[in-house]
């Protein structure tokens, strides 16, 4: 038990990096995902095709590979970026591609009668989206969204590969140094606590939106 307390500080530090990446990715990828979803549904053909390509590339290759592409790729062309910056870029691109598909499914599940009702009442397209469609979309995508968010917290472990001192790396360092398995168990507990919090949050969100059907 004493040992656990001893490795706790570096692991907490690692979790902070993990959480920073997590929140930064969410803060950028959520709005970007909505914009990309709208772009994907655009009647403007080139935009639509570009978005299909974007989704194909970012869903079709491993996130780890994308991470290497951004980090080492930028380095090769002469831009040395901080590993954390590279990780953020790769994560935002990757997750916005997934989230865009979640949002698109949500938007397309809204009955076309809602658009027609807004239309005959004279609402503009922007008002229709922001007041009628997106609020209803949001309720519907809560379950798939919670999936993506839980995936994200676990995927942050991938940045281990470009030498960022996040939670998993902190555990690995301690495990190698002290020749023990305990840090991995502690790391597992950390991830489980974080996913539990996320789950609780989404449960709360679902309840909050339960006021209508």
């Amino acid at each position: 038990m004493d040992y656990v307390f001893k490795i706790l500080p570096p692991m907490l530090e690692g979790s902070i990096v993990t959480l920073q990446l997590f929140f930064l990715t969410l803060a950028l990828a959520l709005p970007l995902g909505i914009i990309l979803a709208l772009a994907r549904m655009s009647k403007f053909k080139p935009l639509n095709v570009f978005m299909q390509f974007y989704t194909w590339v970012f869903r079709g290759t491993p996130l780890l590979l994308q991470l290497f592409f951004v980090y080492f790729g930028l380095m090769i062309v002469g831009h040395r970026v901080e590993p954390f910056t590279a990780a953020s870029i790769a994560f935002v691109f990757n997750y916005s591609a997934y989230l865009a598909e979640v949002f698109r499914a949500g938007i397309q599940s809204i009955d076309k009668g809602q658009y027609e009702a807004a239309d005959v009442l004279g609402l503009t397209r922007v008002q229709t989206m922001t007041k009628i469609i997106l609020p209803q979309m949001f309720k519907r995508v809560i379950p798939p969204l919670s999936n993506e968010v839980i995936n994200l917290i676990k995927d942050t472990a991938l940045v281990y590969a470009i030498a960022i001192s996040e939670l998993l790396r902190a555990a690995k360092n301690a495990a190698v140094r002290d020749d023990t398995f305990v840090p991995f168990i502690v790391a597992a507990c950390f991830y489980l606590i974080m996913t539990a919090v996320i789950q609780l949050f989404f449960k709360w969100l679902e309840n909050k939106y339960d006021y209508y059907r």
Partner: protein, 255 residues
């Protein structure tokens, strides 16, 4: 001047011709019932009148202003968006499936367009909304959500929502077709009240009884054309056309 005038409207969905030259003039205060078998084009025609569908050919005028007319090579050309938006503001629309906004309360549903589109003061819109709710007999439901209401109540809210924009013409697209039979009465009653107040109404309906009682004019459509039209009594009680007779005997038999 006619309140609304549609001339020679053609509409097709791909290869399917839905409207094959439909013309209609509507006077102020007139209540018009459009009846006909499903697939006859009556709903499509109504939807063309308020620009939910685009016509391929023909002319639509509202209070003398042109919404759409034939340009060169007889293709329909629409007026600019602003003018059309202004025209559509004169038309209220009630749908078969109500299309209330499920995430908004009854009151918010009714207030939304006045506040967002007409930029009315919130307080004033709320007063108007409550008055309209009283009119449709749902004062006690202001703070409920649509899913908590019966179909008939939802449709009455939808009517109140359309009325909140102060339309000059009310269009109804089979307003009672999605309702349980015992709930149609309350909706038809609200529509009757509107007719009594001389609201101009165009009603696509299967309710022959309502058409007979309330409509000034009944229009029978079949296969994308107006087959017969005239005073309600005339068309419904002594139809001239074989197809009208056949249709009426079928729907009246079903009762």
């Amino acid at each position: 001047m006619y309140m609304l005038q549609a001339t020679d409207i053609y509409k097709n969905f791909g290869l399917l011709q839905v409207l094959k030259g439909v013309s209609l003039q509507v006077n102020k205060g007139e209540v018009i019932a459009i009846i006909g078998p499903s697939g006859s084009g009556k709903s499509t025609f109504l939807r063309c009148l308020n620009r939910l569908e685009s016509v391929n050919q023909g002319k639509i005028e509202i209070e003398g202003e042109i919404m759409v007319e034939n340009g060169e090579n007889c293709k329909a050309v629409y007026n600019n968006e602003k003018v059309i938006a202004e025209m559509r503001r004169k038309m209220g629309m009630v749908f078969q499936n109500f299309n209330l906004f499920p995430h908004k309360s009854v009151l918010e549903n009714i207030m939304m367009a006045p506040v967002l589109v007409q930029k009315s003061e919130e307080e004033q819109s709320e007063k108007t909304a409550l008055a309209l709710l009283e009119k449709v007999g749902l004062s006690d439901k202001a703070n409920n959500y649509p899913f908590e209401l019966s179909g008939g109540q939802q449709q009455r809210v939808a009517i109140a929502r359309a009325l909140a924009m102060n339309p000059e013409i009310m269009c109804f697209d089979e307003p009672t077709s999605a309702l349980d039979p015992e709930l149609t009465g309350e909706v038809l009653q609200v529509m009757k009240d509107l007719a009594m107040e001389h609201m101009t109404m165009i009603v696509v309906t299967h309710e022959i009884g309502f058409a007979r009682e309330v409509a000034n004019r009944v229009i029978f459509m079949d296969d994308g054309l107006i087959v017969e039209q005239g005073a309600a009594q005339e068309v419904l009680l002594s139809p001239r056309h074989e197809r009208t007779k056949a249709f009426l005997s079928k729907v009246l038999m079903a009762r």
